[in-house]
């Protein structure tokens, strides 16, 4: 351990999804920007509350386009230039026969983009994270909901932030001091 532990933030635990979403809304309305909400299953109401863009669809689209282009260029190059076979005088660039592979590679590349794009956006694999310091946080993957305000938030205050969280009806509030 190097030096003193760096203060990371405040976590509040909730047991009710309704209260939890209300609390997240409240935190956002107070002007907090560096906060996150953790739940054991996706809660769609939170997606517009917690700040963050959603670039997954464009990533997948780019993946798909790359796949189509790869398939088309590969088949054209191999069938018409690199290894031309004359089958009964049929055209070398017989594009209708290229469609099945074009489709398959479009789907394949788009799926790779969806999978690896999502992992990259999430920053995975990342096995450590400040919230994991809290032993209660294991329930975030089962039956509890957690709200986390980072100490780096511009309007974070040693007095008012924990106070605000306590007002929102949590089952517990903790400080996280990760190394």
């Amino acid at each position: 351990m190097r030096g003193e532990a760096r203060f990371r933030g405040i976590v509040a635990e909730f047991d009710d999804p309704t209260k939890f979403v209300e609390a997240a809304k409240n935190v956002k309305e107070r002007g907090y920007r560096r906060f996150d909400a953790y739940s054991p299953y996706p809660i769609k109401d939170l997606f517009s509350i917690v700040p963050g863009r959603n670039p997954v669809a464009p990533i997948v689209f780019l993946g798909g386009i790359t796949g189509s282009a790869t398939a088309w260029i590969m088949q054209y190059y191999i069938a018409a230039i690199d290894y031309p076979i004359n089958v009964g005088g049929r055209p070398l660039y017989s594009w209708p026969a290229f469609i099945p592979i074009l489709f398959e590679l479009t789907v394949l590349f788009a799926a790779f983009a969806a999978f690896f794009g999502t992992l990259a956006l999430c920053g995975f694999p990342r096995l450590n994270y400040p919230t994991f310091e809290l032993s209660e946080f294991v329930r975030a993957s089962s039956d509890r909901f957690f709200l986390y305000i980072e100490s780096l938030d511009p309007i974070y205050d040693e007095e008012t932030t924990p106070g605000l969280l306590r007002e929102l009806g949590p089952t517990g509030v903790w400080r996280i001091e990760a190394p």
């Binding site: 009710d16 999804p17 209300e22 590969m74 993957s141």
Partner: protein, 466 residues
Amino acid sequence: MTVEERQRHTARELDPDNPLPVITGGNTFETVSEQISSIVLTRKVPLFWWCMFGIGVMLLGVFGIAVSYLLGKGVGIWGVNVPVAWGFAITNFVWWIGIGHAGTLISAILLLLNQAWRNSINRFAEAMTLFAVACAGMFPLFHLGRPWLFYWLLPYPNNMTVQPQFRSPLVWDVFAVSTYALVSLLFWYLGMIPDLATLRDRSTGLKYAVYGMLSLGWRGSSNHWKWHQTACLLLAGLATPLVLSVHTVVSFDFTIAILPGWHSTIFPPYFVAGAIYSGFAMVLVLCIPLRAVYGLKNLITERHLNNCAKLMLATGLMLAYTYCIEPMNAWYSGDQYEIALVRNRAFGPQSWSYWVVILCNVLIPQALWFYKVRVNPKRLFAVSIVILYGMWLERFMIIITSLDRDYVPSSWSNFIATFWDNATLYGSVGLFITLFMLFVRFLPMISMTEVRELLPYSKPGGGTEK
């Protein structure tokens, strides 16, 4: 009232008009996590698992011997020869890959159609897809004759001045099957990451380390969920045309050949319907024992059995329609070879296979019209086994009866399966059983995340204190 009591209190049925609820019993978030994760983490491994795993491993041993002998001696150990060059290998390939299709239908098409009941059977159906495709993919490779040169199927820079012929459906098949396997794997794993995190958070020691690494550090952050959900939805959108395309391309292997009985435009929908039909039969064959042994009847309910049976009935009727259309097309074409083929199928030396197919795929499944069969696990299991056998025999019938009567009577022959044909088929069943049993033992077989979403209490503002 404690929060758990409140959750139980509000765990009403999602759809009060349907007499069969999607999930039953007073489930809470915690009971769902506990019920599913304990199968992997804490509960004693049932005798059923050891028995099935033992059978699987024994058959896998048979597979190992059969494949070793095949690699040593070549495809001559099978009953294949000209003109019946396809035999069991391609029958098994089409059968296995067809079985996979129900898993993708459940995970992708039913997701897009917003069918909530799919949530509890989704995970193991996807696993079934993956293992069925693994079994399927091996057969065309073994059938190559020199399987160790399988990479010649792929376009890659080489010094042989040879490249794949992209105008051949056999090359399309290489791309279709490998894409299907990879996309199914990615979809399955991406969907499982949150559940692996649940297992991580409920375990210690080595299990903690392994599930921790597999879950990649998932913590359930709202943004992560947002990206994860979008990615899953888009993967479902990609897998939907994919699942229809794979068996279509498989059917192209047949239809592009100008062989009577194969050269037909009805083959793509015929094959897709048959694939989903046999796939749902396999889903039921797997889930009926699992729900009984592992006490999952509250999550995999009679609603699931009923819905799967209905889908089986619908696709079975599509199949019956194509069985009727085939002789009609032959007669209407006026082509003497097509007509001779139909007569050979129904009354030739292999006619037993035709009539057993009609019995297994058309006549017996009509029992599914009855509600009492659809919600009775034993009867449904029996019908599903019959359908699985019937669908294997259908592919056998299509392949053998089209090939054994060539255009020139002097080259006619009969296909006789050898011991090694059967050993490879049953061996591949062993591979499937082994992989599936390992999945049941070490991974969550029902998606905890998606079952949590089924609880009415999970919706903010829904099902709060009365």
